[in-house]
């Protein structure tokens, strides 16, 4: 579809997707309740930091960090891999392919339209965090920090979404890419700063993680939210993040195109 047609179609697509996300609010609530991992790890680290701080982190820092993790997780999550897997299995992907617009736009609009509902969930957690540990440990302090934080959240979401598309596209080659998604999730949990701040990892490991996409999905937005970096460092990290957005985008679109070709050859 040409850019003008797409621009004309997108507002309606987003509006309908938003109506859908409102219809699924009960589901979303359950999903939010099940995001317990940051809290599980928060209590562990609070117990650890009870007697003396760990590195730069005292108990309050951990509370700020993990509540920020919770909020960022809400804002950057994507479930396109799951959806693509399901639609391939059910054969309903065919209905999407009949339309004169790439299904990827449909998946993206579904995810983006969930944003307002997710902000509604994330906001109280952020407010709670401010009440518990003070604004300086919970939210950005300067305009530039806010700006970079928002860019980083967007970038984190983009990497997550595009990785989802890439893995979802694999289900067009394999019987199911669900297991692949699980492996990705494990790497995400371990490498992203979701379970512990990445600065606690030994030096060598951190260098590796700096080159992997996971930290830019979760750790970077959280660090920017809790004011862990000065401007030059933050800019450098955000630049790396967006390099990953581009790389992941190329991979996702490439895999998707190949996958659809194969889908047409083998049938759904």
């Amino acid at each position: 579809m040409n850019a003008r047609g797409l621009l004309r179609a997108l507002p309606t697509m987003l509006r309908v997707s938003f109506a859908e996300s409102v219809a699924y609010r009960a589901e979303m609530f359950v999903w939010v309740l099940s995001t317990t991992m940051p809290l599980v790890n928060m209590v562990l680290w609070m117990a650890v930091a009870k007697s003396a701080p760990v590195g730069n982190f005292g108990q309050a820092d951990f509370v700020g960090y993990f509540l920020a993790t919770f909020a960022v997780r809400q804002l950057t999550s994507a479930w396109a891999a799951w959806l693509i897997n399901w639609e391939v299995k059910q054969g309903t992907l065919a209905m999407r392919l009949l339309r004169p617009i790439s299904p990827l736009w449909g998946y993206a609009s579904d995810n983006v339209a969930g944003f307002p509902m997710r902000v509604v969930v994330a906001l109280p957690v952020v407010l709670l965090s401010i009440a518990l540990v003070g604004a300086d440990k919970a939210v950005p302090q300067h305009a530039w920090q806010w700006g970079l934080f928002l860019v980083a959240v967007l970038g984190g979401w983009a990497i997550t979404f595009l990785a989802n598309v890439a893995i979802g596209a694999l289900s067009l080659f394999l019987d199911s890419s669900q297991k692949m998604m699980e492996v990705w999730m494990v790497l995400f949990f371990v490498c992203s700063g979701y379970m512990y701040p990445v600065e606690f990892l030994p030096e060598g490991l951190r260098t590796v993680i700096d080159w992997l996409p996971f930290r830019y999905q979760m750790g970077l937005p959280v660090e920017l939210m809790t004011n862990a970096h000065d401007l030059p460092t933050a800019l450098g990290l955000v630049a790396r993040q967006w390099a990953w957005v581009l790389g992941m985008g190329a991979l996702a679109v490439g895999l998707w195109k190949q996958g659809v070709k194969r889908f047409a050859a083998f049938g759904g």
């Binding site: 579809m1 040409n2 047609g5 004309r8 179609a9 997108l10 507002p11 309606t12 697509m13 509006r15 309908v16 109506a19 859908e20 219809a23 699924y24 059910q90 054969g91 309903t92 065919a94 209905m95 392919l97 009949l98 339309r99 004169p100 617009i101 070709k261 047409a264 050859a265 083998f266 049938g267 759904g268």
Partner: protein, 335 residues
């Protein structure tokens, strides 16, 4: 409008043999078997025609529809729909066609159908005025005015199918593929759908290909039928001629005022059924007149009609014939 020449679609299907060793081996080295879903068929369809695809399950009907709508790439052969090559999935092509599948839906499950209509308007880039016109017309003809504001999940199957059809026609497709559109619907709903589909075809001159298990759909809608069996085209022509060819016999239905011995009826022709005052006889076409006059003169007949054999019977006979021919062919091949 549609031309298909030598279309073949072979699938490679991955076989997972039983056994742990084999399962492990299949992780690295997969064995495939080739399935010939469509094995060389050709036909042409003129603009505005209504054509029925007939064939037993697994004959290749749905595969052909999917190839025509660009969802599947043909393995061999040439396919054109209104000048487009479907597998290129050009935007202009996708805007001209629609595939409706009775078993798969495009309506958003938890939102009212009106939202899906709106979404399709945006995606197909339908001008607002035309959209309003089309929608009003669809809502009026299908009588779905009360339904399109309710969440799809609350609609009955028939109501949902009507809305599904409306959603498919928002962009006024010029070629409409219908795959089992009336499956699971009750008789009156089937009739409504048929009338509507026919009206749409006549009003907009849309070309229409239909597959259905309900012969009534085909009989009511399609002057021309294409029979596909085991991936091969086994008949292309009018429905009437097909019936003539497979089952030239007519059925004479007699209503009798008193009980008549079966042997007396059998002397008139082949007795198909005989119960409680009604007898159905099967007779050769040229013998129909003679049979009627003999029946009227010799039996207590109160009413008499002449019919064709039911379509279902005609079709099953045709498929049985094809199967017998295939078996014969297989046997005659020297080992």
């Amino acid at each position: 409008m549609i031309s298909v020449h030598g279309l073949r679609k072979h699938y490679k299907v991955h076989k997972r043999p039983p056994g742990l060793k084999a399962a492990l081996r299949s992780l690295f080295h997969r064995t495939y078997t080739s399935v010939k879903a469509v094995d060389g068929i050709s036909f042409d369809i003129r603009p505005g025609e209504r054509v029925g695809f007939l064939g037993p399950n697994g004959a290749g009907k749905t595969t052909t529809l999917k190839v025509l709508s660009g969802l599947l790439h043909p393995s061999e052969g040439e396919v054109r729909v209104d000048g487009h090559v479907p597998r290129l999935r050009e935007e202009a092509f996708l805007k001209k066609i629609m595939l409706v599948m009775g078993q798969k839906q495009q309506l958003l499950w938890d939102l009212p159908p009106a939202e899906t209509f709106e979404l399709n308007r945006a995606i197909y880039d339908v001008p607002t005025l035309q959209y309003k016109q089309t929608l009003d017309e669809l809502v009026g003809l299908l009588e779905i005015g009360d339904l399109i504001g309710k969440p799809t999940r609350q609609l009955s199957l028939g109501e949902r199918m009507k809305c599904e059809l409306a959603a498919a026609l928002i962009h006024r497709p010029r070629v409409l593929f219908l795959d089992e559109p009336t499956i699971g619907l009750d008789v009156s709903m089937q009739a409504t759908m048929r009338t509507f589909i026919k009206d749409y075809n006549e009003k907009y001159g849309a070309t229409l290909i239909l597959t259905s298990h309900y012969m009534d759909d085909v009989a009511a809608l399609c002057p021309r039928v294409i029979v596909i069996d085991k991936g091969l085209l086994s008949y292309d022509g009018s429905l009437e001629a097909l019936v003539q060819r497979v089952r030239p016999e007519k059925r004479v239905v007699l209503r009798l005022s008193e009980v008549v011995d079966a042997s007396r009826l059998e002397s008139l022709g082949k007795l198909v059924t005989h119960e409680a005052g009604t007898a159905v006889l099967q007779v050769k076409q040229d013998a129909v007149n003679a049979t009627i006059s003999r029946a009227l003169s010799g039996l207590p007949v109160t009413d008499l009609t002449v019919e064709n054999a039911p379509l279902e019977e005609v079709m099953s006979e045709l498929f049985a014939e094809n199967k017998a021919r295939r078996l014969q062919a297989a046997e005659s091949v020297p080992a």
